[in-house]
C-alpha cells in the first residue's frame, strides 16, 4: 500500500490530480455541464496514460465536479449538478444575507471530509460493502424511492401539503414519455421529442435557474447582499468551528453518502437530500433549515462527496456502476484492459491502490483549490453588476440545457418549466418537491412494476413488498420521516398555546 502511495505522489500524478480537481470544479460549477460530461470529456486523453494515472485523472475530475456544483447552488440558487440540490436550500439564503463566503468554505470542508470517508471506505471495506449493492432488488429500490419521496415532508418550507402536491406533480412529469416497463406512451401530446421523457438536467436548470433569472430581471434590488464581500475572506476558522460543533451531522452524512453511493442509480442527489433531511430531523433548530442553516449545507455537501468513493465500490468489485460517471470510468477501465471483479483487489492491487491513493490526494487537494476558487467565485458574483450577471446566467441556462444532448427541444422544455416554476412559486409551490418527484419517479415505478411482476410470478405479491427485511427497515424510516414534522408542528402549536 505504501508503494501505491508513493506512486500516487509522483509529480506527474500529483499534477494530474491538481488540474483534474480544478477542471472538474469549473465544469461542475456550470449548470448543465455535469460530472458525467466532465469525466466523459477526459476519457480519450487517459488512453495514452498508464492505467493508474488515467484513473487518478478521472477520479480527480469526478471529485471536483461533484464539489463544483455547490458554487452555483450557493451563489445563484441553481445546483450545478443534481447532487447539489439540497445545498441550494440553505446555501442561497446564506449568500443572500452576505454569508456566501462562509457557505462556500463550509461546502468545501464538508466535501473534503465526505470525499475522504468515501475513499477510505473504498480502500479498506470495498469487498464486504459491495454485497450491499447485491442485496437491493426491485422492491428495495421501490421502497428506497418512496423513502426519498417522503423527504418532501421534511423539505417543504412551511407548507407540507403544497410540498406533497408538488411531489405528485413531479411524479406526473416523470410519467411523461414511454413507460419504464410495458412501453405505454404517456402524456406526450403526440410529440416524438417527449417519448424519452422530461430530461432531468434541463428540468433542473429550468425549475431552479429560470425563476432566479426572472427575479433578477423583474426586481430592481441587488442579487446578493454586498456588505461582507470585502471584509471576511475564507472564514476558515469560523467554518472549522461550525464543522466541529456539527461533528455528528458530518459523520452521519459521510456514512449515509457512502452507503447510498454504493447503491446503483441512487447517487449524489438522493444522498444529499437524505442527509439534509436527517440533519433537519435531528436538529434542535429545524425551523432554521431553508433559511440559511449551516448544518444543511454541511449535510448535503458531505454526503454527496462521499458518494464518489462509495460509488466506486460496486464499480470496481462487482463491475456494476453506481452512477453515470462510474459507468464511463468502468468503460475506461475495460479499454485499459482491467477486468473488474473481486479479484481486482488481489490480482491488480498496484493499480487499484494507486488509484484509491490518488483519489484521496485529489480529495485533499480540493481544500486549497476549492477555498481559493470559491472565494473568487463569491467575490466575482457579488461585485458583478446585475446587468452583466443576467446575460451570463441566461447564456448558462441555454447552453446547459442544450449541451447535454445537443437538442434545442430541451432548451424549450427548460424555459417552459422555468416559467411555470416562477408562476407557481408565487402561490407557494417550491421547486424541490417537484424535482424530487421527477428524479425518484422512474426509480420507484421501475422497482414497483418489476417487483409486482416477480411477486405475481411467485404467487404472492404482498409478501414481495412487505416481508423483505431491508424493505421493512426502509418502510419504518419512511413512516418516521413522514410523522416527525407533524409531531414537531403539533408540539410547537401546543407550546404556543401554553405561552
Amino acid at each position: 500500500m505504501l508503494e501505491s502511495l508513493w506512486s500516487a505522489l509522483s509529480p506527474f500524478n500529483l499534477t494530474l490530480a491538481f488540474f483534474g480537481v480544478i477542471a472538474g470544479t469549473l465544469i461542475g460549477s456550470l449548470p448543465g455541464l455535469s460530472a458525467t460530461m466532465a469525466v466523459a470529456v477526459l476519457v480519450p486523453f487517459t488512453f495514452a496514460m498508464d492505467p493508474a494515472s488515467g484513473l487518478i485523472a478521472l477520479g480527480a475530475v469526478y471529485t471536483g465536479a461533484i464539489y463544483g456544483g455547490a458554487y452555483s447552488a450557493i451563489l445563484v440558487n441553481t445546483p450545478g449538478t443534481p447532487a447539489a440540490i439540497a445545498t441550494a436550500m440553505d446555501g442561497f439564503p446564506m449568500a443572500k444575507r452576505g454569508d456566501g463566503d462562509l457557505a462556500v468554505t463550509l461546502s468545501c470542508i464538508g466535501s473534503v471530509i465526505g470525499g475522504l470517508v468515501g475513499a477510505l471506505a473504498l480502500l479498506f471495506l470495498a469487498p464486504p460493502l459491495s454485497t450491499i449493492a447485491l442485496a437491493f432488488g426491485p422492491v428495495e429500490y421501490f421502497w428506497l424511492a418512496i423513502f426519498g419521496l417522503s423527504l418532501i415532508a421534511t423539505l417543504s418550507k412551511g407548507n407540507t401539503l403544497k410540498g406533497l402536491i408538488g411531489g405528485a406533480i413531479g411524479l406526473l412529469l416523470a410519467c411523461v414519455g414511454s413507460a419504464v416497463v410495458g412501453g405505454d406512451v404517456r402524456y406526450t401530446f403526440g410529440q416524438v421529442q417527449l417519448l424519452g421523457g422530461i430530461p432531468v438536467i434541463p428540468a433542473l436548470i429550468g425549475l431552479y435557474c429560470i425563476p432566479v433569472l426572472i427575479n433578477l430581471v423583474v426586481k430592481p434590488d441587488d442579487h446578493l447582499e454586498r456588505r461582507t464581500a470585502q471584509v471576511k475572506g475564507f472564514r476558515l476558522l469560523e467554518a472549522l468551528g461550525l464543522m466541529w460543533r456539527s461533528k455528528v451531522n458530518v459523520l452521519r452524512s459521510s456514512v449515509l453518502g457512502t452507503a447510498i453511493g454504493i447503491l446503483p442509480a441512487a447517487g449524489g442527489s438522493v444522498a444529499g437530500l437524505v442527509a439534509y433531511s436527517e440533519a433537519k430531523r435531528t436538529s434542535k433548530t429545524p425551523e432554521e433549515f431553508g433559511k440559511g442553516a449551516t448544518d444543511g449545507i454541511i449535510a448535503s455537501e458531505t454526503a454527496n462527496s462521499a458518494t464518489v468513493g462509495g460509488g466506486f465500490i460496486p464499480t470496481l468489485v462487482l463491475g456494476i456502476p453506481g452512477t453515470p460517471p462510474d459507468a464511463i470510468i468502468l468503460g475506461a477501465l475495460l479499454v485499459q484492459g482491467i477486468r473488474t471483479g473481486p479479484q481486482l483487489f488481489t490480482q491488480q492491487a498496484d493499480i487499484v491502490f494507486t488509484f484509491v491513493m490518488g483519489l484521496l490526494i485529489a480529495t485533499i487537494l480540493m481544500l486549497p483549490v476549492g477555498l481559493v476558487m470559491g472565494r473568487y467565485a463569491f467575490k466575482l458574483i457579488i461585485n458583478i453588476p446585475k446587468t452583466a450577471l443576467t446575460p451570463a446566467v441566461a447564456l448558462l441556462t441555454v447552453i446547459g440545457a442544450f449541451a447535454i444532448e445537443v437538442n434545442t427541444v430541451h432548451v424549450l422544455i427548460m424555459i417552459i418549466l422555468g416559467i411555470i416554476s416562477w408562476l407557481i412559486a408565487r402561490i407557494g409551490f417550491e421547486a424541490s418537491p417537484i424535482v424530487l418527484g421527477l428524479i425518484l419517479g422512474p426509480i420507484a415505478e421501475a422497482g414497483f412494476v418489476q417487483a409486482w411482476l416477480i411477486g405475481g410470478a411467485q404467487g404472492n405479491i404482498p409478501a414481495m413488498f412487505f416481508t423483505q427485511p431491508i424493505s421493512l427497515a426502509i418502510i419504518a424510516m419512511t413512516v418516521l420521516t413522514l410523522v416527525t414534522p407533524f409531531i414537531a408542528e403539533r408540539r410547537k402549536r401546543m407550546k404556543g398555546v401554553k405561552t
Binding site: V41, G158, L161, K162, L164, I165, G167, A168, I169, L171, L172, A174, C175, A179, V181, G182, G183, D184, R186, Y187, I210, L213, I214, V217, V218, K219, P220, K386, T387, A388, T390, P391, A394, L395, L396, V398, I399, F402, A403, V406, T408, V411, L412, I415, I416, G418, I419, I424, R426, I427, G428, F429, G437, G441, A444, E445, F448, V449, W452, L453
Partner: protein, 151 residues
C-alpha cells in the same frame, strides 16, 4: 397583496388547489388508453393531486382568519412577459440563426430588460465587451474543450 400579519388572502391557495385538481383529473383521464401496470403511477400521482387540492381548499377556508406566511409582491409583469418571450425566441432561433448570433441577440435583449439606469456610452461599451468575452469564452469551452456540436 398579503403579507406577514395581514389578513389572509385565500386566493393563492385556491389557485393552487384548482391547478392540482385539474392536473390530477387530466392525468387520470389520460390513463384510459394505458395498460394496467402503465397506469398505476399516473393514477396514483393524479389521485394525490386531487386529494391534495381538495385538502388545500378546505384548509384555506379553515385557516383564513390566521395571518398569512406568504408574501406576494406585485411583479413587473411587462418585464416578466418580455423576458419569457426573449428566452423562448432564443430557444426557437438557436438552430436557424446559429449559436453565436442567437446568443448575442438573446443576451443583448436580457441586458436591455435588466437595465434601469442611464445608458451612458461608457456603460454600453463595457457591457458590449463583457458580452463578447462571455460569448468567446463559452463558445471556446463548448467547441474546443467539450467538443459539443453547436449549431
Amino acid at each position: 397583496m398579503s403579507g406577514q400579519g395581514a389578513s389572509r388572502s385565500i386566493a393563492p391557495d385556491l389557485a393552487g388547489a384548482l391547478l392540482a385538481v385539474c392536473l390530477g383529473a387530466y392525468a387520470i383521464y389520460e390513463t384510459k388508453d394505458m395498460s394496467d401496470l402503465g397506469a398505476v403511477f399516473p393514477t396514483a400521482a393524479g389521485t394525490l393531486c386531487i386529494l391534495g387540492g381538495v385538502a388545500l381548499t378546505l384548509l384555506a377556508f379553515k385557516n383564513r382568519s390566521r395571518p398569512s406566511d406568504l408574501t406576494l409582491e406585485r411583479p413587473d409583469w411587462p418585464r416578466m412577459v418580455a423576458l419569457s418571450v426573449v428566452l423562448l425566441a432564443w430557444a426557437v432561433l438557436l438552430k436557424p440563426l446559429g449559436f453565436i448570433i442567437s446568443s448575442l441577440v438573446g443576451m443583448t435583449a436580457v441586458v436591455w430588460l435588466t437595465w434601469r439606469g442611464a445608458a451612458t456610452v461608457k456603460a454600453v461599451v463595457v457591457h458590449a465587451v463583457a458580452l463578447a468575452i462571455l460569448m468567446v469564452g463559452f463558445y471556446s469551452l463548448m467547441v474546443f474543450v467539450l467538443r459539443i456540436a453547436v449549431p
